[in-house]
């Protein structure tokens, strides 16, 4: 029974990684850049909910909704101010800028909230669920898996079925040709950042509800893990990010349970290295065909 409970909490953790990885992979697909500030949007989402719930005493669900909207706006703003002027710059310049934005967000949070960890009050209203006599699943785990599942299905439908989704796919393949179709590339990039950051806010809230400690660097480690998950699944691929995220969470949790809790991160990253050695494009990554 304990294996099952490790597995379920691994899936739950992995779903959070998947939500974050979706932001990395979608932004990479469309803007061809690694947005290393993405992890810190998780932290911003956490602090927004923390402030609204614990400081102002607002309704938790309403606060989450606000955090999602505010983080979406933040994502759009970051792209406009920091990345858009660098569209035609070298990828190294964009990467360094992204790291700069990451430190900027962390330090703004540090200024406002200080460096000590805040205790985050879970927004999940349901308690533990007992199945049989041994299996106990926390409410956070159930909600995290359910919410992530709904979001992933909705996102897949959105990308594959709607006109805007198709426009995103077109822009990610060929910006020039997309423009010739009448697609507004700037708007499409903004929408992508908004969606990615909104997902990061949701992930932040779920993560902080399950691991209720919040400080300015909270987003860093999950951010890196989710980036790993995106590369693991094949960067640029939406189903890849989902599968990569969930697998990563499961591997991490099972290694913690059965191998070593100190070594679990090392094991996770070793798996990544192994996958990349065998299949450099990641699990579902596309081959890059450059036709001459």
């Amino acid at each position: 029974m304990s294996f099952l409970s490790y597995l379920i909490s691994g899936i739950s953790l992995g779903s959070v990684y998947a939500l974050i990885a979706l932001g990395y992979t979608m932004v990479y697909g469309i803007a061809k850049m690694l947005n290393f500030a993405h992890g810190d949007v998780i932290m911003v989402g956490g602090f927004i909910v923390f402030s609204f719930v614990s400081t102002l005493g607002l309704n938790p669900l309403f606060s989450v909704l606000l955090a999602v909207v505010l983080c979406a706006l933040l994502g759009v703003l970051i792209e406009r101010i920091a990345y858009k002027p660098l569209r035609s710059a070298t990828s190294l310049a964009v990467l360094i800028t992204a790291i700069g934005v990451s430190y900027f967000l962390q330090n703004v949070a540090l200024l406002i909230f200080g460096s000590s960890a805040k205790s985050f009050k879970s927004v999940v209203p349901i308690g533990e669920i007992h199945i049989g006599t041994e299996l106990v699943i926390s409410g956070e785990t159930v909600v995290t898996i359910a919410v992530s599942l709904v979001i992933m299905v909705a996102l897949t439908l959105f990308v594959n079925r709607t006109k805007t989704g198709k426009a995103m796919l077109a822009v990610s393949e060929d910006k020039g040709a997309a423009q010739l179709m009448g697609i507004n590339v700037n708007k499409t990039i903004s929408i992508t950042f908004a969606i990615g950051s909104a997902l990061a806010a949701v992930a932040g809230v779920l993560l902080c509800s399950a691991y209720p400690s919040l400080k300015p660097t909270t987003g860093a480690m999950p951010g890196i893990k989710a980036f790993t998950a995106a590369v693991f699944g094949g960067i640029g691929s939406i189903p890849g990010a989902m599968i990569g995220g969930v697998l990563l969470g499961v591997i991490e949790n099972l290694s913690k349970a059965y191998l070593s809790s100190q070594m679990s991160d090392g094991i996770v990253f070793s798996v990544l290295i192994l996958v990349l050695l065998i299949k450099p494009t990641g699990l579902l990554g596309k081959k890059i065909n450059k036709k001459v």
């Binding site: 796919l169 997309a178 423009q179 179709m181 507004n184 036709k291």
Partner: protein, 253 residues
């Protein structure tokens, strides 16, 4: 000028009147002047060929018209209305579509999805379906392969798809950039037949080609572009007899 005003102006252009006019455009890549004052015009109903060697600036002219590149000076008029500063993604809805060089179909998307992206600017579902039917009629191969991803098509089929995709926006004028490039002789003939067919059903065509012989045979009038300037212009049939053209572009001694 507002989009609808330009659209009306475009619609008001009668047969044989100037639809697209390029006036003295200068285009730079950094410090290098790629286009050094090119002017030409396309009248409604015509097939105009823009021929020239590799590097003469043909694609640059096309990209400047469709708004992907901005000229440093000069202007581009569609239906008499200035479109020089209008962003690329707004130009297609004014009635100007492009079949880009190298086809540039969306490889990961299906044939059907590619075609529907061609109609991206139109939200009239019934009209889009009707146009899709017409495109399938003209290119039966595309209907057979509508669920296949475009990347699995042959070069010739991808060219058909790029042309069908451009038609989906129901344009007044189509710009075609090297439509015969890299195709087998059989497909080259088919492409030129289709261009004449598209033109026959009322769409004006501006054709950029390295295959001067085929282009001149299909076109009404032509312009010869040499290192960023128009070197010659005239009726296609006359240019075909021009000794200079025969020597430089038709491979004759």
């Amino acid at each position: 000028m507002k989009k609808d005003t330009i659209k009306e102006a475009v619609a008001a252009v009668g047969e044989g009147e100037t639809l697209l006019s390029v006036r003295d455009i200068h285009v730079f890549y950094g410090l290098i002047e790629a286009i050094k004052g090119v002017s030409f015009e396309v009248r409604r109903g015509e097939i105009i060929a823009l021929i020239g060697a590799n590097g003469a600036g043909k694609t640059t002219v096309m990209h400047t018209i469709s708004g992907l590149i901005r000229p440093k000076s000069g202007s581009i008029l569609l239906g008499g209305a200035e479109i020089t500063q209008i962003p690329a993604h707004r130009i297609v809805s004014l009635g100007l579509a492009q079949v880009p060089e190298g086809r540039r179909v969306f490889q990961e998307l299906t044939v059907y999805e590619n075609l529907m992206l061609g109609a991206y600017v139109s939200s009239d579902k019934a009209e889009n379906e009707e146009m899709l039917e017409k495109v399938y009629q003209r290119f039966p191969r595309l209907e057979e392969r509508k669920k296949q991803s475009a990347g699995t098509l042959s070069g010739g089929e991808q060219q058909m798809l790029a042309m069908g995709r451009a038609l989906m926006s129901r344009p007044d004028i189509i710009l075609m950039d090297e439509p015969s490039m890299g195709l087998s002789p059989l497909y080259v003939n088919e492409v030129f037949d289709i261009i004449k067919e598209i033109n026959g059903s009322g769409t004006t065509v501006l054709l950029v080609e390295q295959n001067a012989k085929k282009a001149l045979a299909a076109a009404d009038r032509a312009y010869v572009l040499e290192t960023g300037r128009i070197a010659l212009e005239g009726k296609a049939s006359e240019l075909m007899d021009n000794a200079q053209v025969r020597r430089a572009y038709l491979g004759e001694e």
